[in-house]
Symmetry: C3
Subunit: 279 residues, 3 copies
């Protein structure tokens, strides 16, 4: 990985990471991707930044930072901020996660993982399981899936069902999907199970979180009821929904997913900053 032929591709380019919400995975993988391509990084990582404290608008923050960088990755707890940032920016903006709404680069790396692991995307039985209401990765992923011919299963407690905005979109696209609360019945037919963490920080009432937090727990034994080529994915972090016993199984690909994420983000930065002819 260390000496790749693109290690000077983005020489002299600067990426700004404006993270108004904490992040380990997304920020570090974007920063690593930029550095692996020879680029440089500036940014901040909390809401405790001067501009926010002093009441500056996102528009002004973007119009400032675009002077100091060549591309901006923005994460913000409010939906729509990345879109608004793009409207005011003269340089490219990447959405690094917006509230509980969207996380498009995660969806791209998820799709890339499926392609790499299964060799195809069309024709698969794919289950999205867990917090389909607040989990931003499954929202963005569902939109991407609508470009393929997939049998989709939304597995969640009734209180955390996939948002209407997305199910309506899928119906418009004539996408096949089924909503259910039970995942063990479906497990044997799935090619991909995409587990997600119940997003404790999005709940207003602790009791509501307690009710659903342990609804879906996958153990090593459950893998016996899966297809030979079954693949278990997770955007991470996980809390208790996937037992660590499973990690060593070749069916568990969530750590490979992280590595694919690095490659995907390298490709994305290269494409955006160098166009299609960088290869």
């Amino acid at each position: 990985m260390v000496n790749n032929k693109y290690s000077k591709l983005l020489d002299n380019k600067i990426m700004a990471t404006l993270f108004f919400e904490p992040s380990t995975r997304t920020r570090l993988s974007f920063e690593s991707a930029m550095l692996r391509l020879g680029g440089k990084v500036i940014g901040f990582q909390t809401r405790d930044v001067s501009s926010v404290k002093k009441g500056e608008s996102i528009a002004d923050t973007v119009r400032t930072v675009e002077n100091y960088s060549d591309i901006i990755v923005i994460r913000h707890p409010l939906e729509g901020v990345a879109r608004m940032a793009a409207k005011f920016s003269s340089i490219p903006i990447i959405n690094g996660g917006s509230g509980s709404a969207e996380h498009p680069t995660q969806a791209l790396l998820d799709l890339f993982t499926i392609k790499e692991e299964c060799g195809t995307i069309d024709g698969l039985n794919i289950g999205l399981c867990g917090d389909l209401k607040y989990g931003r990765t499954v929202h963005s992923l569902a939109y991407l899936f609508s470009n393929y011919n997939i049998n989709l299963y939304f597995i969640s407690p009734a209180s955390l069902k996939m948002r209407f905005r997305i199910t309506d979109w899928l119906r418009d696209k004539k996408m096949k999907f089924k909503e259910t609360e039970k995942f063990k019945e479906i497990l044997p037919i799935l090619d991909i199970l995409y587990m997600t963490r119940i997003q404790e920080e999005r709940f207003l009432e602790p009791e509501e979180y307690e009710k659903v937090k342990d609804v879906y727990i996958l153990t090593e034994k459950d893998l016996d009821n899966t297809k030979e080529n079954f693949r278990l994915m997770h955007p991470l972090p996980r809390v208790g929904e996937i037992s660590p016993d499973i990690d060593k199984s070749p069916k568990a690909v969530y750590f490979k997913q992280m590595k694919y994420g690095l490659y995907l983000r390298m490709a994305l930065l290269a494409l955006i900053l160098k166009g299609n002819n960088f290869v």
Copy 2:
């Protein structure tokens, strides 16, 4: 901007940014400037650093960090800290903003902006408007102006007048200045209006802030009463004192100011680390 002939000038040099107070603009522009010149950056961005928590003196912090870097940019809420740091340091120290007292590199970039936009500095009618008591940028700028032949107008509420330390200095220097609370009367004669944010975070009493926060608001209509070559500046961030309608006017130069700031800081770093003969 990306491929400049100085992009390797500071190769192998390290800048340390010691920001004991949050900052977006100043820190990111210094970091971008250093990276654009091929240099590297280390640092911290909050008071929540080990040395502060453990009670270390600024002198010891500087004598530590000077081992790890070639130049230090320091921001601190207390006045005089940058000066003290410089006393103990064997490497160059740049003041990145000291409390509500001084912000010298901002003043330099402001002066550079005026020169670029007006072609001259001498002979201009310049108004500094808003929070002249707590606004550190106007303090440093007033000192710089004293080297030029300028008609200066200090426009502020009575409670936020320019500090005596500075008006006394200007009188000693035989500098022409006028203090007033009304800015619309003066607007038609100004070549430059330098607006500032009322610094909410420096007020001890919220009511005191409320009284003055909306005293000066510039709208698009106000621009009709300005000279053809009038230029509106602001160190940013702004909160409500400049209506966003104005942004698209060629008279509004506050976003260009940001870009000039990057160039100014690049020049400053190059001069300090390479001397006058780097060109």
Copy 3:
């Protein structure tokens, strides 16, 4: 220092600094060391990171970050975390300080300082003074000393004595050491006095800290009672235990210690990432 022949040695290598506890010295010196060798840096500096807030295990954090970097430096308030991280990681892990237990790279730089300053380590009379219970640097240093023939003096209040785990180890190793509360009596025979800060943040009761915080204070006058080649060391930060009057004495080497720390960490990174044949 700037143009060293190793300035491209770690070109394209990325170091991740995972600091779950604040740090100035250790983090900045590791980052400077990596940059001086041509490497790059990613990381975080507080517990306020996404993975921690979302309840992720250290194992999963490490298995994520190992995809984005070539070496990890980890600091954590809990003992044993670095060891656990190493167990789960496929890339090298360096312990950057674990709670009040260990700080191995500090011990290495301390040993290197002694070697450079005294020309030898064997045969010296060395005093470790202050907070021997909570001071992690003295723990790691005592382990290292057990490889040498040293007369060791542990000077501390009764409540802050060296931990049994370490004195037992030293006895097993047939190491000579003496425990005492009085340091002025011993001062004349010492070659090295290694002072430490009383670690306020590790005390549960403020009164307990107050009782011992000023027990050991070294003043300029005390140096008169030391050998000609006596050397005073301190891992820094200091609070009040070494008077600043002493700083200018050639016997005070704590700031040189910082510089040796940079070199030591450069050597460590080079050895780990390039092996013994990098010279």
